[in-house]
Amino acid sequence: MALLKVEDLKVHFPMRGGLFRRIVDHVKAVDGVSFSIEQGQTYGLVGESGSGKTTTGRSIIGLNTITSGEILFEGTNLTADKKKRLDARRDIQVIFQDPYSSLNPKKRVLDIVAEPLRNFEKLSKKEEEYQVQELLAQVGLSSENMYKYPHEFSGGQRQRIGIARAIALKPKLIIADEPVSALDVSVQAQVLNFMQEIQKELKLTYLFISHDLGIIRHMCDRIGIMYKGRYVEEGTSKDIFENPQHIYTKRLVAAIPDIDPRNREKQQMFRQAIKEEYEQSYSKYFNEKGLAYDLSPLSNTHLAALPEKG
C-alpha cells in the first residue's frame, strides 16, 4: 500500500471581480492531480513557476482547502476526517524553501525545535531539552547550539535546524518544497547529502518539490511533471530523463544547461530542435484551453498525458 495516495486532487482559488467582488472565476491551481508515493521513496514534483506544485504540497498538509479529490495517508482519507487529519499532521512534516524566513528569528534553537514537541507531547523541561539535544545531534549540530538564535547560523545549518524540527515528531512523510533553491551550490550539496542520509536512517518518505531538474534527478525515484495544475507526465527518474514522452517534458529536460562546455553546440542544436517541435506540436499535446490531457500509461512505471490516438 502506498504511504500517500492523492486522487484527482483539485484546488481552485476563487477570483473576485466586479462591483461587489463576487466570484467571477477560479484559478485552477491544481486541477485533477493523482499520484501515490511508496514508503521510503523520494517523489519529485517538477514544473514551471505557478504550475501548482506548492499548492499540491500545502493541500496534503492541510494548509489549503481542497476543492475536490481525496488524499489518503496510510489508507485513511485526510480530506474526510478532521480528527484524522490532526493526527496525520504528526506524521507529515514540511521542510521549507527559505531557511531564513522559516525559522522564527526571535526564538532560540531550543524553542524552534521543541515547538512540535510542546504541541503534541507533554514533556518536562529536562526531557524536552534532552530530546532537542538528540535531534540536533541527529542533524549534526552540537548541543551548545541550543541557546543560539537562528541568525547565528549559516544557511545550510539553518536548513538543518528546520529539518531537526521536521523530524522531531518522527514523521513518516516529509514534504520538501524547494528545500535548497535559496542556497548556494556549495551549501545546497550539504543539505541534499544530509537529506538523503536521514532518509535512510529514519526511513523517511519525501515529496520533493523543485524546479531544478538537476537536483530532482539527483534525488528522486519517481517524478511527476506538472503544467498549469495538471500532470503531463509521470515516471521513474530514468523514464523522465532518458525517455521523455510529452513534449513539455522534453522541453524542460532540454532546457537544463549542460555543465560541460564541450557539449555547447550540441546542446544548442538539440534545444533548438525541441523548441521547434514544441511550437509545432503544441496544439497536439494540449487541448484548446492549453491544458494537458489525462495521463495514460506507457509502461508499468511511466505515464504521460499524450493525446488520444485516432
Binding site: G18, L19, F20
Partner: protein
C-alpha cells in the same frame, strides 16, 4: 477604476449611516435640550418650555426621534441651537465658507512649505540642511497647536501688530471688491500660517522618509544605469513616486485640519465652524455640537473617499483593479 470608485461610494453609505446613529445616540445621552437654555430667563415660564418640548417632539420615543432627526437632516435641517435658539444650519452656514477658505489656504500653505522642505531634506538627507529641517519637524511635532497659535497671536498680532487679531474681514468693505478680498486673506493669513507651520511637519516627515525610501529602490538604480542625470532621476522618478501617496494625504489632511480649526479659530476669533464648535462645547450647545460632529464626520468620510479616489487615479496599481 470605476468599479473601485463605485464600490468605494457604496462603502460610504453604511459609514454615514453608522455615524449618524452614533451621533444620535450621543445626542440622546447629552444633558439638556434646545430649550434648557431658556431656563433662568425670567420672561419665559416653564410651561411654555414644556409646550415647546412637546411640539418639537422631544418627548417621543427614541426611534421616532431618530427617524425625524435623520429625515430632517437629509433635508438640511439639523435642529435648533440650544443656546442661540436659531436653526443650527443657519449658524453653520454663516461660518462654513470662512472655514472652507481657511482650510484651503492652510492646505495650500502646508504643501507650499512641505514640498520644498521634504524634498531638500529627503534628497540631501544627513546634511546640515536636512538636520535643520528635521529639527524643525521635531519641534513642530512637539508643540501643541493651541500653544503655538497663542504664541503666534501674541507675537505677530499683539506685540508686532502685523496681522489683525480677530474677525474675518475689515468691516465696511464692499464684498467682491479687491480690497475685500485682500482683507479676507489678511485676516486668514496668521491663523492659516499657524495651522500650516504645525500641520506641515508630518507631511514634511512623510515626504522625507518617502523620498529616502524611494531613493534606495532598485528601480532608481536602473534609471541611473540608463545614464539619466541626477536631476532627472529625482524629478521624473523619485519625487513623482514619493509624492503620489501625498496626493492621497490631502483627503486625510482635511480631517486633521478640521480639528485644528477648533483650536485655531477660537484663538484667533475667526468666525468659522471650528470656533462655532468650540463655543458650542463651552456653552454646551449640544444641538450644534451634534450637527457639527455629523458634519465633520461626513466631511472626514468624504475626505477619505477623495483620498482613495485620488490615489486610484494616480496609482495605476489601484486603477486597474
Amino acid at each position: 477604476m470605476w468599479n473601485f470608485i463605485v464600490r468605494r461610494f457604496i462603502i460610504m453609505i453604511p459609514q454615514i449611516f453608522l455615524l449618524s446613529i452614533i451621533v444620535f445616540i450621543m445626542a440622546q445621552f447629552m444633558p439638556g435640550d434646545p430649550l434648557s437654555g431658556l431656563i433662568g430667563d425670567p420672561d419665559v415660564p416653564q410651561e411654555v418650555i414644556e409646550e415647546r418640548r412637546e411640539e418639537l417632539g422631544l418627548n417621543n420615543a427614541w426611534y421616532i426621534q431618530y427617524r425625524d432627526w435623520i429625515f430632517n437632516a437629509l433635508q438640511g435641517d439639523l435642529g435648533k441651537s440650544f443656546t442661540q435658539k436659531v436653526p443650527v444650519v443657519d449658524l453653520i452656514e454663516s461660518r462654513f465658507w470662512n472655514t472652507f477658505w481657511l482650510a484651503v489656504l492652510s492646505i495650500f500653505l502646508i504643501y507650499v512649505i512641505a514640498i520644498p522642505l521634504g524634498i531638500i531634506s529627503g534628497r540631501w538627507s544627513d546634511t546640515w540642511g536636512d538636520r535643520l529641517i528635521t529639527g524643525y519637524t521635531y519641534v513642530g511635532y512637539a508643540a501643541p497647536l493651541f500653544i503655538f497659535g497663542l504664541v503666534m497671536l501674541f507675537v505677530f498680532g499683539f506685540q508686532l501688530g502685523w496681522f489683525p487679531t480677530g474677525g474675518s474681514v475689515t468691516p465696511g468693505l464692499e464684498p467682491g471688491s479687491f480690497e475685500y478680498f485682500l482683507s479676507k486673506v489678511n485676516h486668514m493669513l496668521l491663523p492659516a500660517l499657524s495651522i500650516a507651520l504645525i500641520g506641515t511637519v508630518s507631511t514634511v516627515q512623510y515626504l522625507r522618509s518617502e523620498i529616502i525610501d524611494t531613493k534606495q529602490k532598485d528601480f532608481v538604480r536602473t534609471v541611473r544605469a540608463k545614464g539619466a542625470p541626477e536631476s532627472r532621476i529625482y524629478n521624473k522618478h523619485i519625487f513623482r513616486n514619493s509624492m503620489l501617496p501625498l496626493a492621497a494625504l490631502i483627503g486625510f489632511e482635511i480631517t486633521t485640519l478640521l480639528s485644528g480649526t477648533i483650536f485655531i479659530e477660537s484663538i484667533f476669533s475667526f468666525p468659522g465652524m471650528g470656533q462655532l464648535f468650540f463655543q458650542s462645547i463651552v456653552t454646551r450647545d449640544y444641538s450644534s455640537v451634534t450637527a457639527l460632529v455629523l458634519l465633520f464626520g461626513v466631511t472626514a468620510i468624504i475626505g477619505a473617499l477623495v483620498a482613495d479616489i485620488i490615489l486610484s487615479v494616480v496609482d495605476p496599481r489601484i486603477r486597474i483593479k
